[in-house]
Symmetry: C2
Subunit: 400 residues, 2 copies
Amino acid sequence: MKTVNGKMRELGEKRSVIREIFEYAKVRSAEIGAENVFDFSIGNPSVPAPDCVNEAIERIVRETPSVLLHGYTSAQGDGNVRKTVAEYIRRNFGVPLTADNLYMTCGAAASLTISMHAVASAGEEIITFAPYFTEYKVFAEGAGCTLKVLPSDGKLLPDFSALERAISARTRAVLINSPNNPSGVVYGEDVLRRLAAILEAKQREYGKDIYLIADEPYRELVYDDNMVVPYAMCYYANTLVCYSWSKSLSIPGERIGYIAVNPAMENHQAVYAAVCGAGRSLGYVCAPALLQRVVAACIGMTSDISVYKANRDLFYDALVSYGYEVIHPDGAFYLFVKALEEDASAFCERAKKYELLLVPGDDFGVKGYVRIAYCVAPETIRRALPAFEKLAKEYREGKE
Amino acid sequence: MKTVNGKMRELGEKRSVIREIFEYAKVRSAEIGAENVFDFSIGNPSVPAPDCVNEAIERIVRETPSVLLHGYTSAQGDGNVRKTVAEYIRRNFGVPLTADNLYMTCGAAASLTISMHAVASAGEEIITFAPYFTEYKVFAEGAGCTLKVLPSDGKLLPDFSALERAISARTRAVLINSPNNPSGVVYGEDVLRRLAAILEAKQREYGKDIYLIADEPYRELVYDDNMVVPYAMCYYANTLVCYSWSKSLSIPGERIGYIAVNPAMENHQAVYAAVCGAGRSLGYVCAPALLQRVVAACIGMTSDISVYKANRDLFYDALVSYGYEVIHPDGAFYLFVKALEEDASAFCERAKKYELLLVPGDDFGVKGYVRIAYCVAPETIRRALPAFEKLAKEYREGKE
């Protein structure tokens, strides 16, 4: 007889491919030295938090009375913090967002699970595009929904005709992630306009609300001058933005983010109430109080993104010169590279001989690609490049 | 047509009675001055965090490299933190717990939702005893379960024969809370032994695991010399302990706690895996990294509990001397007082005339009682006592 929830046990026991590689890296490092293992598996920021983070922590701790500082904030987040963040969003993206449209969360994963539980009911469907962050499936299923994964085009932008065919009366939300993990692709204005037009037409066709959930932890990690990732709310009324400061401030362990409910949404008050209710139901009493105040104090700041840009340029240019096909990443800190044989897992195994640890793209919903996380020391990339060159040569020679 | 998840919307819109009173207190304070409103509604620690908390924050921030400090910990919590906490539990309660039996959480609510999702499946039943913390129902229903509330005896200890009758093939867990919110009652060893005996017999009868979930945020808030709240694991193998540092360290806003899975449990590895899976499914990536290290640095420390003890003694003795019937609280920071008329809500309305803000016990599953939170400044109690005396007199004279 079943002694625990079998689905939860399976989720706890089945290590993700990334975690498997991570464990392998530890073992291999012990054998041959960490400096000889090139681990590109983990999307953990390699750049320290900007000084303002620790300065804010120390100042807030010194200046705020303990009972206020460490006490409960309201469930949706401290009022002043929400005001500061809303003001920032208003100023930067031109949407009339107020504190009452913002709900502070314990990071992007919480933003997503809360949003899904809030808008969707059991049996409904959430649509996303491949490649996609693997945990989306876990989160959607946790909310009793199905995650339907649609293909992307050759540039890894959404396949719009697939979207038109896929939306049904069961569809409750479309989930996008730009800049994208694992591809680094950024959706431009044109993509958001087409998405919005399709969703609006389908809402009318089915007479139901279909939400756009924009997962944006990599928003600030873009590398072309003056590039601003379009803010999904500006294009589609029924939008929820899920944000996290994990990557922009290099504080992924601190678990702090937000959900912004578009005030242009007809039902924005009902959706916001459902967000509060879902947070309550999942056990999120409030986002960590000290960190709420810290991100407000650091609003608009980021870690030194130029390190990632330099890594991208170095890595992308070198791989292309060795003959690899690489999706050009405008943001995030991943390269999505075509494997040199059909089976990406077999390719990753062969790369291991050169101590290159890559993640096969199959888990992200795209076969034949690998993900390379370049949030590492630039030195690691420089020292790994000859191995990538040899690997490409081996495939070329093997073919001949 | 339904535009959001109706259940979640309702949870977000329906204010709790406590929140209603809190809002009333704000309005009333503006009218007559905060010093003239006696708000006993909220269970928010009134004693500052011990110095070690802010000292640990400042030291850890200064001494730990940023990428390590603010980076992801493993999902179950930082290894060294779990080792420190496990060692403390081992030393204090004599159970052979290791880091591998501990899962760090974002506070008690997260500990509870994760534990329920881990052990129970949709359609199963979780049993608790009145009076109980109102959010239990929300959490159990979020896990697809029913919360079955059983009566307590006159001393607000479990009604064991009701328990024997209530357990069925659908029962997956029994949830206890000692020291209790709202009654302040502490379960002694005898209570835990009888609970364990019944659960063991019922496990055999139904051939299934029935878990004891011990919700213990008030563990250290006990006021009799040398009193140690019995550790449920010592009495029953299938026990999960849900803990939070919110009350012991006065840091409820920081969201940090743990789930301890009894290593004496036959299926402890499966249960632990299910806990990890449930945390993942609900969007808890890891507990806040800085705070994990802070509670480990402050292990065994508490806020100045003597303030609560003095409050209890002052308040309890005075109310009893005015003729109130009060459940003697051995722990937590609540008095559970018999209302002076049958309808506790009507009694609370009458108390309002004296600016006394109390919470009717109905929401906690016990009619005819009110909860008084005494985590307030001693001065507030002293100044409120004459009002309690007048209120009692009014009822006495009304009766005559």
